[in-house]
């Protein structure tokens, strides 16, 4: 065999390998989706879809009347996630701006890897922190019976999504061409004005992507919220919701799936919750993608 043909063979082999990897990933994804649909579908023989999505009462083991409404859980997931974003986005973007713009490069060189390592802390450890550290603090500060509340979950999820938000936002801020900053400074703008009016807008697509990824992590996180939010099956009324115990969709699945009798309406309903979660995450990612493309078009 000549050198040239071996080269070509090698190349097509490599190409086939990567193609196979891609196909495998798609198949896995479709498989998950199909399983989720087929396992959750039987639930709707016994449960009306409208009741499932719009009722606030979830009581599948009631001796008198079983109830399968997940609105409380959707709302709880929403509140905990929103709270996490409200905490994590300003801090995360602020730290990213500090690292890319203000910090000495040696500080950046040390802080960035440390932040990225934080992403690897097991969620069970974060949940533990919530129980022993933040919950007592919250109960003391707000003078409530116990601190296992939505706020507690939000704080922990914020901590968990900060590494992603900081790291990716910092990357996209660093990727802003220095020429933009120079142009701004040369026009008599201060460093603050340059940061807020030129660098942050230019890095916006990356920052939004960072926040969306952080949000994705927060919505789907299970162990931490299960440990830290009290798991009360009540509908979170909005003004005080952050200081009440809540049960998110993920926590509910994790709590009940271990004890549910197989192939009952309850069993299928838990998968249906999973499907709802999947759809929500999918929509969030889709919206993020659309937003990103819009901005990228405008930038080019």
């Amino acid at each position: 065999m000549t050198k040239k043909t071996t080269g070509r063979l090698k190349e097509s082999a490599i190409r086939a390998f990567f193609f196979a990897c891609g196909v495998l990933a798609v198949i896995a994804l479709l498989g998950i989706f199909a399983t989720l649909i087929s396992t959750s579908f039987p639930a709707f023989k016994d449960i009306k879809l409208s009741e499932f999505l719009l009722s606030k009462n979830w009581d599948p083991t009631s001796p008198e009347m079983e109830e399968y409404g997940i609105l409380s859980m959707i709302m709880s997931s929403f509140i905990v996630t929103l709270g996490a974003l409200l905490i994590a986005v300003p801090i995360g973007v602020g730290v990213a701006a500090y690292l890319s713009d203000v910090a000495h490069w040696r500080v950046r060189e040390i802080v960035k890897p440390v932040v990225e390592i934080l992403a690897g802390i097991p969620s069970v450890v974060v949940g533990f922190l919530g129980i022993v550290l933040f919950a007592p603090l919250i109960s003391k500060i707000f003078n409530i019976g116990h601190g296992l509340t939505a706020l507690n979950g939000s704080i922990l999820l914020a901590i968990m999504s900060l590494p992603t938000i900081i790291s990716i936002s910092e990357d996209s801020l660093t990727a802003v061409p220095p020429a933009y900053g120079e142009a701004s400074l040369a026009l008599g703008a201060s460093r603050w004005q340059t940061l807020f009016r030129v660098k942050l807008p230019a890095a916006l697509s990356g920052i939004i992507a960072a926040c969306m990824l952080g949000m994705g992590r927060a919505i789907g996180e299970t162990m931490t919220v299960l440990m830290a939010t009290g798991n009360a099956r009540t509908f979170p009324q909005l003004p005080q919701a952050l200081l009440r115990s809540v049960r998110t969709m993920t926590a509910n699945i994790a709590i009940e799936l271990g004890e549910v009798p197989y192939y009952t309406a309850h069993y299928y309903a838990l998968f249906a919750i999973g499907l709802v979660l999947f759809v929500i995450t999918f929509v969030v990612n889709l919206v993020a993608d659309v937003v990103l493309h819009k901005y990228q078009e405008r930038e080019l």
């Binding site: 120079e182 701004s184 008599g188 703008a189 405008r298 080019l300």
Partner: protein, 256 residues
Amino acid sequence: MSAEALKIRMETRDLDFYYGSKKALDKVNIACYENRVTAIIGPSGCGKSTFIRTLNRMNDVIAGARVEGTILLDGRDIRLPDVDVVDLRRRVGMVFQKPNPFPKSIFDNIAYGLRINGMRDKKRLEAVVEGSLRGAALWDEVKDRLDENAFSLSGGQQQRLCIARALAVEPEVILFDEPCSAIDPIATAKIEDLIETLKKRYTVVIVTHNMQQAARVSDFTAFMMLGELVEFGVTEKIFTNPVNKLTEDYITGRFG
């Protein structure tokens, strides 16, 4: 043309510049006259950019950089502690080597310098944007597309947009660092014409490695080598009858 009758707008005296321990400028004395174009020429790496960037203190941000000597704007040292660098940069505008518009609309690019100073009045913004674009000979080409992204312009147009952006904040001195090195000859000719007009109102300093360009647009020329000023004088004299042998060798193309 006698230099004595002219007013000196900016001037450096025994200017030294260091990047850390590396000396990039050595006792540079150059005067920039009002309503005249001063060209800085010299082989690449001789410190032209370093010099021009000390005039609006753009080198301040470089870690480890150090300036010694005196830089005067209207007779006042711009490095005195009470000089506001933001104000200085408003008075001494700069156009860079590569066109660097912001990723914003044409209008917003030019309005930027005004908005950061708190101007909100739409009417006045519009008036200044139009005036600046006219001043940069770009108005007729873009007047119907002010909302379009600046990146939709050609390279030459982008560079004139950057000039318009600098004009909008009403500077007194405008610094050009090789403004034509990234654009085509026709666009270059337009910018050279523009510089000719600009000098009626402003003090212009231009770095160029194109000697013909220096000869065409400038009234005074400074020739630098290895961080030192070799010769400074009236452009015509530098190009026809230089005092220094090095200058003669450089402009006749014997090196560089």
